[in-house]
């Protein structure tokens, strides 16, 4: 976002606060219910992870056996947390960038509740033994139309918001990314569900389209929203324009052209047409290009701003997320190569890729956005910088551990042991044990981080945040007078002004 001057006009401020106020209910709902689902997903993830090295943990009850806990964990992460964080950021960001208050907060809130209901029924269905067995689509089949309908009720307002945007400037790159993600989600979700759950298709094609769905959801929904949020946060906080606008537009179109072809390498080696397998692999590898360029573009926007990075939680999370994006791109290249697929296809590598995409990149960007948005929407500041720091660092530890154990070390080790066909199968499983334990520790670290986040967010939602005009920064810089004006209770200051 390019600003002619750093000082916003009064009109701008009032407009912004009006936009924030109009969306406070749906946005806070999406963030808090999303964070709740994140907590659920992490607990399920830990249980699932422990079950891989200690199957008798918590008894032999069927609803938490690995085969049910693991799909429930992933689906809660994707639909419970990922989608709702995306929704919250989507509606707020589009409203802000379109400079138009929302008039449909009620509809958004209702739709959000219906989404939550759908996810609840879905997770309950999986744990009760009614999962469909199609990865990332394990919700019982009656759930997906409910989710799609409530999604439409949410996303249509984003589209309308874009169409009635104020001002005659060219639309911001974040707006294009968000609009595209809004449109891609139903395209991907509806197409995949129709082909896999409704139409009568060859069983291998159903499995292949499921693989496509997973990759497409990452590359065409989570990635664009994460990038949109990253561009906005970095530009806003560093008060600079995006490093290179034409790069960002080019990256967008590159992603749009390449990403829909990706994903079929998930079923490489199966008797589906060769063209599908190898095109999918090639597209996944090629998709690294727009991802890396977008990441570099964002990082360049923040270059020379180490101070700001050290202070601002939003920027720190976002930049960490962008590093995650670059790591994701590189990992995607590695894991899509047929020589690597030999070892990694049936190992924990794809799980590591999913976690990196959903948590290492997307969630970190979303946390950055949430730390930015929530104070503006609730008109309160975050209570404790320590909680934010804990959240940040333990997330980083967890992501790095998972990256290390799941994908880099564990998976190739596991794959190599599997390939060693002269050794009994026991070797392949035993070699994974230490990494399975490591993954459990990683998830515990992430849960630890997010417990504090959840508490923090809930307190903010209950409007128990700090009443201050100074944002909560990660460094305590004592300055009575700074760019934010005198420190004091935000409401008092406002009434004093008026």
């Amino acid at each position: 976002m390019s600003t002619q001057s750093n000082a916003p006009t009064t009109e701008d401020i009032e407009l912004r606060s009006e936009i924030d106020r109009s969306l406070r209910h749906p946005v806070m709902f999406f963030f808090t219910s999303g964070a709740a689902w994140l907590a659920v997903s992490l607990v399920l993830g830990i249980i699932a992870s422990i079950k891989t090295h200690n199957p008798a943990f918590l008894g032999e009850g069927s609803f938490i056996q690995y085969g049910r806990a693991f799909p429930a964990h992933i689906n809660a992460l994707v639909y419970g947390w990922g989608a709702q964080a995306a929704f919250g950021v989507m509606i707020w960001l589009m409203a802000r960038l379109s400079r138009q208050p929302s008039r449909n907060a009620g509809t958004l809130l209702v739709a959000g509740h219906i989404w939550n209901l759908g996810v609840m029924l879905g997770i309950g269905g999986i744990l009760a033994g009614h999962g469909t067995g199609k990865h990332w689509m394990e919700f019982p089949t009656f759930v997906w139309p409910v989710l799609l309908a409530s999604y439409a009720a949410i996303a249509i307002w984003v589209v309308i918001s874009f169409r009635v945007r104020r001002g005659d400037d060219e639309a911001y790159i974040s707006q294009w990314y968000i609009l595209a993600a809004c449109i891609w989600f139903p395209w991907i979700y509806l197409t995949a569900n129709l082909y896999v759950n409704v139409f009568d298709v060859h069983p291998l094609m159903a499995a292949a389209i499921n693989g496509w769905f997973r990759q497409a959801l990452v590359l065409l929904f989570f990635v664009p929203i994460g990038i949109a949020s990253a561009y906005y946060i970095t530009a806003k906080i560093t008060a600079r324009a995006v490093y290179n606008y034409s790069y960002s537009a080019g990256c967008f179109w590159a992603l749009a052209i390449i990403a829909p072809w990706a994903g079929f390498h998930a079923v490489m080696g199966s008797p589906i047409p060769m063209f599908l397998q190898y095109t999918g692999a090639a597209a996944s590898m090629l998709a690294a290009v727009p991802l890396i360029f977008a990441g570099v573009n964002v990082l360049k926007t923040t270059s020379g701003q180490a101070e700001v990075l050290a202070h601002s939680p939003s920027l720190r999370f976002t930049v960490a997320g962008v590093f995650g994006l670059i790591a994701l791109a590189v990992l995607g290249v590695i894991l899509a190569h047929p020589d690597a697929i030999r070892y990694s296809q049936f190992s924990l590598a794809s799980y590591g890729y999913d976690v990196l995409a959903l948590y290492g990149f997307f969630s970190m960007c979303m946390f950055g956005a949430i730390y930015f948005i929530v104070p503006r929407v609730t008109r309160r500041e975050w209570i404790s910088r320590r909680l934010i720091r804990t959240h940040f660092w333990f997330s980083i530890y967890g992501v790095c551990l998972i990256l290390l154990f799941c994908t880099v070390l564990g998976s190739f080790q596991q794959g190599a042991a599997q390939e060693n066909f002269n050794q009994p199968w026991k070797q392949a499983v035993k070699s994974t044990f230490p990494y399975a334990v490591g993954i459990t520790f990683a998830w515990v670290a992430i849960l630890w981080a997010n417990i504090f986040f959840f508490i923090h967010l809930t307190l903010m939602w209950l409007r128990l945040g700090r009443r201050s005009s100074h944002p909560t920064l990660l460094r305590r810089d004592h300055s009575a007078l700074g760019p934010h004006g005198p420190e004091g209770d935000i409401d008092e200051l406002e009434s004093a002004k008026a």
Binding site: R68, G131, M205, I257, I272, P273, E419
Partner: protein, 246 residues
């Protein structure tokens, strides 16, 4: 970039991929032509035969997440070596070698090919043959062996080595499917599929319908039928090269 070009660009970029990768391949896979077993005039067509309650069992397999740890795919040798692993790809002994990679008709009867996510457990493409082998070693029927495995995968009595010694199974992290079993009073001679474990006197643990249906499905997993000559990738001088022209 204007809104109009944006919409057109989105539709075109996604649509081309959709058409080439999803719509057309699915349509083509729906009408695969029949293949003759050999080039001869009156050769039979290749038709894989299945039996058992494949569809119901596949649903139970999916609902309990077996696919999260077990795969059902024998990849070609340029993508993986599991075809050489004992018992994964078929029967291989002095007399006969039926090992082969997965064929597109192998998932016949199921709606969704459960290729699987990871291989924490062994590949199940030819589980039927493995079950027969285990059952022969331990003196149970294949059905009994599978049901006993579902109850307790770490049961050391199920895996016997060359000299009949018990093989360590503590490394297995396959979940026990206890919800598929029930303890019932022992009546008469008891259930033929009751588990051979010590319960309180006068009761026995019997598998419920779920276990039987799942077992039925698992025992149909024998994907080593002879392929037509045109699709047989076995090396010329291996036992599997000669396709059975029946």
């Amino acid at each position: 970039m204007t809104f109009k070009y944006f919409l057109i660009g989105m539709f075109a970029s996604f649509g081309l991929a959709w058409l080439c990768m999803i719509a057309i391949p699915t349509a083509k896979m729906a009408s695969l032509p029949p293949v003759k077993m050999s080039g001869e005039e009156d050769a039979e067509y290749y038709q894989r035969k299945t039996s058992g309650r494949v569809l119901n069992g596949a649903q139970i397999y999916a609902a309990n997440g077996c696919y999260t740890c077990h795969s059902q795919l024998i990849r070609p040798t340029y993508l993986g070596s599991q075809i050489f692993r004992k018992d994964f790809a078929g029967i291989s002994n002095a007399d006969v070698d039926t090992r082969r990679e997965t064929h597109y008709d192998d998932y016949l009867g199921e709606k969704y090919a459960q290729i699987g996510l990871t291989r924490m457990g062994p590949d199940l493409s030819n589980y039927g043959h493995r079950a027969d082998a285990y059952a022969a070693k331990t003196g149970m029927s294949a059905e009994q062996w599978t049901i006993a495995h579902l109850y307790n995968p770490r049961n050391q009595k199920l895996q016997l080595g060359e000299q009949g010694e018990e093989i360590d199974m503590t490394w297995s992290n396959c979940p026990s499917q206890l919800q598929m079993f029930k303890e019932k009073d022992l009546v008469g001679q008891g259930d033929s599929l009751a588990l051979n474990i010590n319960t309180v006197a006068m009761t026995q643990v019997v598998p419920l319908e779920q276990a039987r249906v799942l077992t039925d499905y698992l025992l149909t997993l024998k994907r080593d039928s002879a392929l037509p000559e045109s699709m047989n990738n076995a090396p010329k001088n291996s036992g599997a090269a000669a396709a059975d022209v029946k």
